[in-house]
Symmetry: C2
Subunit: 206 residues, 2 copies
């Protein structure tokens, strides 16, 4: 797919295919779709993307994406300010919020420690995390980072950095997904779910 009949089309395909997971073929499909739609569709898309990048702010407390200096979660008086859930990025906040099972606060690291990618502790929002733990009467820090070597490294780094504060540490449970068959669960996950087994106290109410 290389000989485009138009430089304009080629440019659009080039820019679209810079997006993650969008190959040349998909980019061409998207560009041709926009050509079939009216101008307003392309303008609305372009303007939303520019405004997002230009006007977005980050919460000064938790570093989550926000339209103002303080995000809706940090400014919500009903949230439990004593529990702090440490996540990698905004998507994790959305995912946890969608469960409706957590009423505490978040702290967005903005990545995880990954020497391979050249990401060290100083590239992440760790100083502000320590500041919050030392100043905001936090009782529990929950690590909700990816279950990877990098995630484990980051958990351990944060633990060492924060262990002198009187705070409880926990991490989200890893185990067999609800509804999954044991035989299709990978050994690592199944192994963890046995080690971290929880007490059974009769049927759970949904």
């Amino acid at each position: 797919m290389d000989i485009y009949p138009s430089k304009l089309l080629e440019d659009a395909v080039k820019e679209l295919s810079k997006l993650p997971g969008i190959g040349k073929r998909t980019a061409l499909r998207l560009a041709l779709h926009l050509l079939r739609e009216d101008l307003q569709t392309s303008e609305a898309l372009a303007s939303a993307l520019i405004r997002l990048r230009q006007e977005i702010r980050y919460c000064s407390n938790c570093h989550n994406i926000s339209d103002t200096g303080m995000c809706p979660i940090c400014s919500n008086p009903k949230r439990n300010r004593a529990i702090l859930c440490v996540v990698e990025d905004s998507r994790d906040v959305l995912a946890i919020e969608n469960t409706a099972q957590f009423n505490g606060m978040y702290h967005i690291l903005g990545g995880i420690i990954s020497p391979v990618d050249g990401i060290g502790p100083h590239d992440l929002n760790i100083d502000s995390l320590e500041h919050r733990v030392s100043e905001q009467h936090i009782e529990e820090v929950i690590f909700a980072l990816p279950a990877t070597i990098e995630g484990d490294t980051t958990n351990f780094y944060l633990f060492r950095r924060l262990q002198d504060y009187s705070v409880k540490f926990s991490m989200i449970a890893r185990g067999v997904a609800v509804g999954d068959d044991l035989e299709y669960t990978d050994e690592l996950t199944l192994g963890r779910s046995i080690i971290n087994r929880t007490r059974y106290e009769g049927p759970l109410s949904k």
Copy 2:
């Protein structure tokens, strides 16, 4: 995924997820990616999309996408002007050009006849096709439309419309894909490939 921490992010996700094949989750991933990149990336993307939609022109001869009034294929003196390949859209032209097996001209219908979608002959570039067949000394019209009921309907409509002109009609071969096993080929395709079998004259030179 519904409680976005930012209206700007929500807008960007909404616009991105209007694109075909892009769901809310993918749109969020793309938006967060653009936030991590510098402003120039978003601006280049937005401007390429707007320019594409605003400045694109269509070839006055074949209706392909073009930056000028005549596309590179129609203005190429080395192409065989006696053979006309009828396709649904620009992507088909790119696909056939990539084979490097065709040196004739194209005609882009801009769709196929589909009563279910409310697309009739008058919505397609059929008048200009007839005009070309009657004026441009075309010797052969190749139908390269999709092998669907709509494609077959369109083939037949075009055939009836053009059959009084002294022109030969053909359609691209349908059959078992090169390299495919017969046992994995669907019955319809395999059936067609038997009906439309071609004469074997010893090993083909690649």
